[in-house]
């Protein structure tokens, strides 16, 4: 029973965070582009996302004529559900993990890749060429970038000697934050994470100027909201994972600052990495699909392997 209650609490907290994230996203983009962002709905436009959500929810449920109905209905759920599931293994603070799984990191990576299925299913079911191309690109991209992502995370596992995310944080308490010995691994992980999240400069799946809206083209209303929700939750989840693997999770930067609760440190770090993609979005254009694949297979994967070997050597001889 407490587990179920915990899950509901987590759901509500994350929904709150996402509402806030959309607002922050639009505000930040606005400021970086010499605009104001939302200002009219509520004080400082704070209620904008709520108004948008209400609008999306009350929209007519449009299902185009020639779609594969069961799959079309299922796809948003497949895409969205894993984004919440992965949060279960994230250690928010000492003792505050919803499911302290022994293979937490593996669980995260495995569950997160289920989202790809949702995207492909959505793109295929919509019976629209733009959706199909978007979905195929997405599949290729996510599959390619999972390899360097996992390889660079593996080096962290070597350092910590455990796949459990709590154990990884505690290992960092004993030595230093892994971003220092794993600087190369961190950069690879960050780039691969951006590609995994479909954020600029790797936002090819929804490349508006090329593919109209990619796999989302035929979606509207609630189903569209589900895809978007999943995306924003992933943003937070990935920020949390980066904070956990490389920046000591709930650890304070210095033992003297230990009076600040761990959850605060964790949220600061996780939110920073959740907001970073917005900044990049305002800065970069989009890479081309073949360049993107080249980067993954010819650049990141070899580098991640080198990093893995170096880490192993470091652990063995030092």
């Amino acid at each position: 029973m407490p587990a179920a209650l915990g899950a509901v609490v987590l759901l509500l907290v994350v929904l709150g965070l996402v509402t806030f994230a959309v607002y922050v996203h639009r505000k930040l983009l606005g400021w970086m582009q010499g605009r104001h962002g939302p200002t009219h709905t509520g004080p400082y436009g704070l209620l904008q996302t709520i108004a948008d959500t209400v609008k999306l929810l009350q929209k007519e449920d449009v299902i185009p004529a020639q779609v594969d109905r069961p799959l079309f209905r299922l796809a948003p759920i497949i895409a969205f559900a894993p984004s919440f599931v992965v949060l279960a293994v994230i250690p928010f603070a000492p003792g505050l993990t919803f499911a302290d799984v022994g293979v937490g990191l593996l669980f995260y990576l495995a569950v997160a890749s289920v989202t790809t299925l949702g995207v492909i299913a959505g793109g295929w079911a919509a019976n629209n060429k733009w959706s199909l191309i978007g979905a195929l690109r997405s599949a290729a991209q996510m599959v390619s970038y999972e390899v360097p992502l996992a390889l660079s995370a593996l080096a962290v596992v070597l350092m910590a000697g455990s796949l459990n995310l709590n154990a990884i944080v505690e290992a960092q308490a004993r030595s230093v934050w892994f971003v220092i010995p794993q600087a190369l691994g961190f950069v690879i992980f960050l780039i691969a994470a951006l590609a995994e999240l479909n954020r600029t400069p790797f936002d090819l799946t929804e490349a508006e100027s090329e593919l109209v809206a990619g796999y989302l083209t035929e979606y509207s209303g609630v189903r569209f909201a589900f895809f978007m929700l999943g995306e924003y939750v992933y943003l937070f989840a990935m920020g949390a994972l980066i904070a956990t693997l490389y920046f000591g999770g709930w650890l304070p930067p210095h033992p003297a600052l230990a009076f600040v609760p761990g959850i605060v440190w964790f949220l600061i770090k996780a939110l920073f990495f959740a907001v970073l993609p917005f900044w990049l979005q305002a800065t970069f254009p989009r890479a081309r699909v073949d360049q993107l694949m080249g980067l993954a297979w010819k650049g990141l994967i070899p580098l991640a392997m080198v990093n893995l070997v170096l880490t192993a050597a470091l652990k063995t001889w030092l």
């Binding site: 970086m32 582009q33 060429k129 090329e210 979005q281 970069f284 989009r286 699909v289 073949d290």
Partner: protein, 369 residues
């Protein structure tokens, strides 16, 4: 082993598509993501301008030229009035000529700014668009002050311009804009030109060679990117362009990167011209030549052309000495330049398709007229 059967995919791009810059439609046949055939479909914005013009007086045609290349309406206006003036052999007051040049060159900057912003939007960069429109807004403000309109100015008249400077400070504001604009251009270069991804996406793509460019009748930046230094302002000087110092930027690569850099460089050259025009601006004088109430050019025919932001914009008039033209034809550079598109697209992928289409820089109002 049986090979997997593959099929070509016919993809309809537009007329409602975010990156066809209006109502342009393209039917591409894809093999995977590679284009094997491309057929442009135009005419969604056709208004029969040339036919309508046969029933209009010359002055009444001016608003139609606003609506052809709506990003550079000043230059469209000028192309028409210049042809009629040439046919009539009119002498234009100096003050009007200066106002025309200032308006045209500011409009060229505004037009290239729209191109710059939307082109990077096509490439997936969203911020430069807003930076470009911030600068363009200042030009539109200046135009609104002098002509009352932000887009369809109808500012020029046969024999001069409609309005004098609105107040003593207008020229000063123009000068302040061109001075500040130098910094904005630097900002664009810092933000965009140096970006690794931009370079990776533009260099070596959509290459046109010199002979092909000439054979297709390309003009403007599309031609100059292949190493041909042809700019109507220098080749067949009109108005008072011979009084200003400016260069015709040329590159030889012929790819998207060359066209990108040339358009940015042209903004700098236009900036120089406006600056000189403001400095030399005559303190007094008329803005309209003495004109009869009803303009009847002598019977005969005339072809004149001007350099629009998109290339050589020509006007051909056959007059029978009546207030309306017997026949008028516009050589619209967007239309002519668009013809090379299928040739450039074959063998490219979908992402490059948008980049190549954008680099030709078409305005659908002008393609369809």
């Amino acid at each position: 082993m049986a090979t997997l059967r593959t099929e070509e995919l016919v993809l309809n791009v537009g007329p409602q598509h975010p990156s066809t810059h209006g109502v342009f439609r393209l039917i591409v046949t894809l093999d995977g993501e590679t284009i094997v055939d491309a057929r442009p479909v135009i005419g969604y914005l056709h208004r029969g301008t040339e036919k309508l013009a046969e029933d209009l007086t010359y002055t009444q045609i001016i608003p139609y030229t606003d609506r052809m290349d709506y990003l550079s309406a000043m230059i469209g206006n000028y192309a028409l009035v210049h042809a009629v003036e040439t046919l009539m052999g009119l002498e234009i007051p100096e003050r009007a000529e200066y106002l025309r040049v200032i308006a045209m060159e500011l409009n060229r900057i505004a037009s290239h700014l729209v191109w710059f912003g939307t082109y990077l939007l096509d490439l997936g960069a969203i911020t430069p668009f807003l930076y470009a429109f911030r600068e363009r807004e200042k030009i539109l403000q200046l135009f609104a002050e002098i002509s009352g309109a932000r887009l369809t100015y109808s500012y020029m008249r046969i024999g001069g311009v409609k309005w004098d400077v609105p107040d003593e400070g207008w020229l000063g504001r123009v000068e302040r804009f061109v001075d500040d604009f130098e910094r904005a251009l630097e900002e664009f270069h810092t933000l965009v030109t140096g970006n690794e991804i931009v370079q990776a996406r533009l260099k070596g793509i959509g290459r046109i060679d010199r002979e092909t460019a000439i054979a297709y009748g390309l003009t403007g930046v599309n031609l100059r990117s292949t190493g041909v230094a042809y700019d109507v302002r220098k080749a067949k000087p009109y108005s008072i362009y011979d009084r200003f110092e400016f260069e015709v930027p040329v590159r030889t690569e012929g790819d998207l990167w060359a066209r990108y850099l040339l358009r940015l460089e042209e903004m700098e050259q236009s900036r120089r011209i406006v600056k000189q025009a403001v400095r030399q601006f005559p303190s007094g004088g008329e803005i309209m030549a003495r004109m009869p109430k009803l303009i009847r050019p002598p019977a005969g025919e005339v072809y004149t052309s001007v350099e629009s932001p998109r290339g050589e914009l020509g006007v051909y008039i056959v007059s029978e000495g009546k207030p309306q033209p017997y026949r008028i034809h516009f050589r619209r550079p967007s239309f002519v330049n668009l013809q090379i598109l299928p040739r450039l697209l074959i063998g490219e992928n979908v992402a490059n398709m948008i980049a190549i289409l954008g680099s030709i820089d078409i305005v659908l109002g002008e393609v369809d007229a």
